[in-house]
């Protein structure tokens, strides 16, 4: 029984890892399904201890670009109860639902969660992007 359990745990972890593999086309749905968010990091792969920018793309659930989003970003490591070492913010709208996000930096390897909160046309919703660095 313990070996079966271990097998399941390993399978579960492998499935999780494959779900987290870098995929530029990957989109994250916000909690209530209002927005779909994807990102492209200036560093590929993302390295720890290097400050860099992301481009966030925000779409509605039907796929239309969101052009007037107010975006706030918070990140942290759930395992360590701490946030990011920086306070990133959106500095520029690039058109077609794309936003430049500056000041991203991660300072430890491990599981990070980046919460992206989007407010547009009075609708607020948050997507959580999980990263394994």
């Amino acid at each position: 029984m313990p070996s079966k359990l271990i097998g399941f745990v390993i399978l579960f972890l492998l499935l999780q890892m494959s779900a987290l593999a870098a995929d530029p086309e990957q989109e994250w749905s916000s909690h209530r399904g209002v927005y779909k968010i994807s990102f492209e990091a200036e560093l590929d792969p993302i390295e720890i201890n290097r400050i860099h920018a992301w481009v966030l793309t925000v779409r509605t659930s039907s796929g239309d670009p969101v052009t007037t989003a107010e975006i706030s970003v918070l990140g942290g490591m759930p395992m360590h109860d701490h946030g990011m070492p920086t306070r990133p913010r959106v500095t520029e709208y690039l058109g077609e639902g794309r936003y430049r996000l500056e000041g991203m930096r991660f300072h430890m390897n491990g599981r990070w969660e980046v919460s992206v909160t989007v407010k547009a046309d009075g609708k607020v919703d948050t997507a959580v992007i999980a990263l394994d660095l």
Partner: protein, 394 residues
């Protein structure tokens, strides 16, 4: 002896022999073949000194990589005249023979300073200086002790007078920064900043040299088992396994300098008789308000390239957080932590193993449950990071 007893006896001997072989195999496992997975080898490569990237330019300091400025900076670094009593120089606390530390819980200049003296070897790679990161460049940091009443106890007018008027510095200063004109706006503050910039040019040359750990990684990547065995002992290798694994040290002590140069609350107790030190939460406020910061008038980048300062994090989570120190060259740099609270590495490791609640803020570290033998192995590994500072005296 009956046949049954004989059989039991033989089985026992066989079991013991297998156990002994297994124990023996476990003992030699780390050495031959090397015990690392591909992912672990990549982690070891990330800690290797050869992975240290070239130092990026410092656009806030126009003479950062000017050898002439470095030479002037070295002279200033050792000059006791930049102090109120003529007896204190940068090297009073940053002693080259002690890896640029002083062996004291807190620095001792004119009087006792507030915190432990950081080593400055490799510090040019850090976006933040001091335990609380209250400075964002080497040159800006170099100015603060000169005017701290407990350290050099001097002031910028006297320092500028020495550097711009004394026969041994006057010409060099003029060549590097132009003639000093007291009638110019901000003449004193600008020249004071230039003093820091020359000292910074010297400090940028202080780098660690390869240690036995680095020799081990080189041998591992090369597949040379004899060289691996010559570089690290079994205990050191087991300590390294713990360091990058179960002991979680690598989470903050990462990269070739074994530091992320970031701020963490690890529940270090306050210095006896003192209230707990607020650390980064106060340091970040100071650096944002500092006239000599990256975006200030004395920065040569005219406020550009200040990404770290611009996106610096503030807030309560930074209460009691201090900058992760490099673990290279710990030898002869005791005592440890921001006020020298721990006298030995063993004491420091026990602190992380226990991870008691913090006095202020919250301790990010969690109890590790390692055995005393494992802690000894980590200490053995840390010893393998000792190496002289790369020759730099000009």
């Amino acid at each position: 002896m009956s046949a049954a007893r004989k059989k039991t006896g033989k089985t026992l001997v066989a079991v013991l022999a297998i156990a002994a072989l297994a124990a023996g195999a476990w003992q030699i496992r780390p050495l031959s073949p090397a015990p690392w997975t591909d992912a672990e080898i990549e982690i070891l490569r990330s800690l290797w000194i050869a992975s240290l990237p070239p130092l990026t330019p410092d656009p806030t300091n126009a003479v950062a990589d000017n050898p002439r400025a470095a030479k002037l900076g070295q002279q200033l670094f050792f000059d006791t005249r930049m102090s109120a009593n003529g007896a204190v120089s940068c090297a009073s606390c940053h002693q080259p023979a002690r890896r640029f530390t002083d062996g004291l819980p807190k620095g001792q200049g004119i009087a006792s300073s507030k915190r432990n003296t950081h080593s400055i070897v490799g510090v040019a790679y850090s976006p933040w200086l001091y335990w609380d990161g209250r400075k964002d460049s080497l040159w800006s940091q170099a100015l603060a002790p000169l005017e701290d009443p407990n350290e050099h106890g001097s002031n910028r007018v006297k320092v500028v007078e020495l550097v711009t008027q004394s026969p041994e510095y006057r010409e060099e200063y003029k060549i590097l920064f132009g003639a000093f004109d007291p009638a110019e706006d901000d003449a004193i503050d600008s020249a004071f900043a230039n003093v820091g910039k020359a000292i910074a040019a010297f400090e940028r040359l202080l780098m660690p040299s390869p240690s036995r750990f680095d020799d081990y990684v080189a041998a591992l990547l090369d597949g040379n088992e004899d060289a691996q065995a010559a570089a690290l002992t079994t205990d050191e290798i087991l300590g390294l396994q713990l360091f990058i694994g179960e002991a979680l040290c690598i989470q903050c002590h990462n990269g070739p300098l074994l530091t992320n140069n970031e701020f963490h609350n690890t529940g270090v107790i306050s210095f006896p008789g003192e209230v707990p030190d607020k650390g980064r939460v106060a340091g970040v406020r100071e650096v944002l308000a500092d006239a000599f910061n990256c975006s200030g008038n004395y920065s040569d980048s005219a406020g550009a390239d200040c990404t770290e300062l611009e996106y610096a994090r503030t807030g309560a989570e930074l209460i009691g957080a201090f900058r992760t120190p490099s673990l290279r060259n710990l030898e002869n740099t005791e005592p440890y932590m921001h006020k020298g609270q721990f006298t030995t590495i063993a004491e420091t490791l026990r602190h992380y193993n226990e991870a008691s609640p913090a006095m202020i803020g919250h301790n990010e570290a969690k109890p590790l449950g390692l055995s005393s033998r494992q802690l000894q192995q980590i200490e053995a590994f840390l010893g393998s990071l000792a190496a002289p500072v790369a020759p730099q005296i000009l």
